[in-house]
Point group: C2
Chain length 360, copies 2
């Protein structure tokens, strides 16, 4: 049997590029569409730098790269026609900054919701009905109980347009499965992905001031920023700082590939709508993460405690039983490994993908 052909949207972003490495290592045929909002292409290169490096890491090539957005129905026509038959779509393309989504809600809804609808319509048209969606723990809103399992209500008290856009897409996916039993859809609800590939060739590099803790820490470590703000130390947690369920990007991308393989090898088990948490199942405070980073890198992170950020939640962590039972998957990497791999990437690439000459 030929290897399955996977269309991956947003394939040159942080999660996307790590998934591409894992897909290439598993000999899948890969088509990527990305609009380069969270990646860059260097002068003269046909590929975004993250994908060029993914090929360098694996010694294998992606089949095709399309520069564009899933809002573009004509481009999707071209992609599905030129690459027929596509077996599975992994939809990772989305805008992802919570703060920006509050400022530019229409841009977020157009990209994340509109782009998903257009993509799903194209899939329907070309009779491709296997879909893996990049969702987020943010769909749970304020926890009614912990740990968060997949039966926890979603969409209630989601505090920002980014989170609401993910909820809307999940709702749409559920309705699609209700209407047509031939669809198989897995929504992977990411907790807090951090870290970088062990090669140090790919990792997360926000274009802007980082929203998330780990990229901020690593930019402080590399002295791009002088000091870390810790938002609140009066939460009801062990040291008063917020608790999150950090998951190593290698575990996260592996979760995608495990889900993909299950969907391909036992399709009947995956008919319908299947949300699955990807987390470790345990929480880490901000101060614990800083401490782990300092320990595993030897670098001091100056920080100061400031006021809580409106909308921030105290404690989030996952119940990971569904991933364990249905996929036989669990996260393996420690917080120390998340920190050291982040530092490996950041120190080799202080300017992210803009610096083409990387340490060997």
């Amino acid at each position: 049997m030929d290897a399955a052909k996977i269309l991956i949207t947003g394939g040159s972003g942080y999660v996307g590029s790590h998934c591409v490495v894992e897909l290439l290592e598993n000999n899948f045929n890969i088509i990527v569409i990305d609009n380069l909002v969270n990646s860059i292409r260097l002068d003269g290169d046909p590929l975004p730098e993250s994908l060029r490096r993914a090929q360098q890491i694996t010694g294998k090539n992606i089949d095709k790269f399309y520069n564009g957005t899933t809002e573009d129905a004509e481009l999707l026509d071209k992609i599905f026609t030129e690459n027929s038959p596509i077996d599975v779509v992994m939809h990772l393309a989305a805008l992802k900054s919570v703060g920006e989504s509050v400022q530019q809600p229409l841009r977020y809804y157009q990209n994340n919701v509109g782009g998903s609808i257009t993509l799903l319509k194209a899939m329907e048209k070309y009779n491709v009905k296997k879909f893996i969606f990049s969702s987020s723990a943010t769909v749970y809103g304020e926890p009614q109980y912990l740990p968060l399992d997949e039966s926890h209500p979603i969409g209630i008290k989601c505090t920002n347009p980014y989170g609401r856009s993910k909820c809307m897409v999940e709702q749409i996916l559920e309705d699609v499965c209700q209407a047509d039993s031939e669809w198989s859809i897995i929504s992977l609800r990411y907790f807090n992905p951090v870290g970088a590939h062990q090669s140090g060739l790919i990792g997360e590099y926000p274009n802007d001031i980082p929203n998330n803790l780990m990229p901020y820490i690593s930019q402080v470590a590399v002295k791009v920023r002088p000091c870390l703000n810790v938002f609140g130390d009066d939460y009801p947690t062990v040291d008063g700082t917020g608790v999150r369920d950090y998951i190593h990007i290698d575990d996260l991308s592996n979760g995608h590939i495990v889900a993909l393989k299950h969907m391909l090898s036992s399709p009947k088990e995956w008919f319908g709508y299947n949300p699955i948490n990807l987390g470790t199942g345990s929480g880490t405070t901000v101060l614990q993460l800083i401490e782990s980073f300092e320990k595993s890198t030897g670098i001091k992170i100056p920080y100061k405690i400031v006021d809580r950020r409106p909308g921030d939640l105290a404690i989030l962590f996952a119940n990971v039983n569904v991933a364990k039972e249905r996929l036989g998957w669990k996260a393996r990497k420690t917080i120390d490994e998340m920190c050291s791999s982040t530092w490996n990437w950041q120190s080799k690439n202080p300017n992210g993908f803009r610096n083409n000459k990387i340490a060997q």
Copy 2:
């Protein structure tokens, strides 16, 4: 001062055409965009039949008609450029069949949600920030209390994609207002619009088997259908049949124009997001509606009691205080008037707008 220029989407549909009559009578300048999904254009006519008749009723003309959809960003560019400046957009274009939405969720989400996002993006681009949205009582889902007021939670237990699409748009509108305080948005949450213009020239004529009670009753009256199914007589209501808050289409369209005038005359009071119920505030059972129809038309409606429809709610009616206090508006027409005007329209137009030769 020149009369304000209003872009009305879905202007040739049932609610739209009645709003157009009211807008023309009030000397507004009107641009209509409609894709003719719920209306028809007869051979050789530049206008949909409902709009031709709206002009006939009022003796006044709309400025321009565009045949197309609000999903079409290029067409919107053309409309906003050719008709600059547009003062207010009234967005009534939407697919509206609950049952169809369950079968074709992507079509509904693309049209209702995608189409609204594209329209709002165009408004942002052309700096038009006054918006009146056609929402629905369906956003409330299963009532937590009655009567339903505007503070009742929305989006929880919405039972179908149609209702969820309205919720999503409301959520998007709220976020748009949060991000930019220059927007004025009124969402009119319709209860159950019925009836027809007193001229008998315009009214509701579903293309398909009617989903809603009144069009079904009137098609039975005119013998297009043999018998009415009453879905359940064991609800906790006075006679066991479902209770709804029916509102005469004349009252409903008048509510739009009153809202529009308030928005134009005292803009500062309407900055932000303003949901407003349009209903009468009182409920009527299915059997009461049949009885009123028979009484006011002298026509017997054969019916039989059948099983409940899954997803149907027992009782819905509106708290209408906000409309009264903020708009000085309330519904005036009786159930009997709703029935007799429906019959006047239906009997003069047994085939809806397809019959061009109407009784004088």
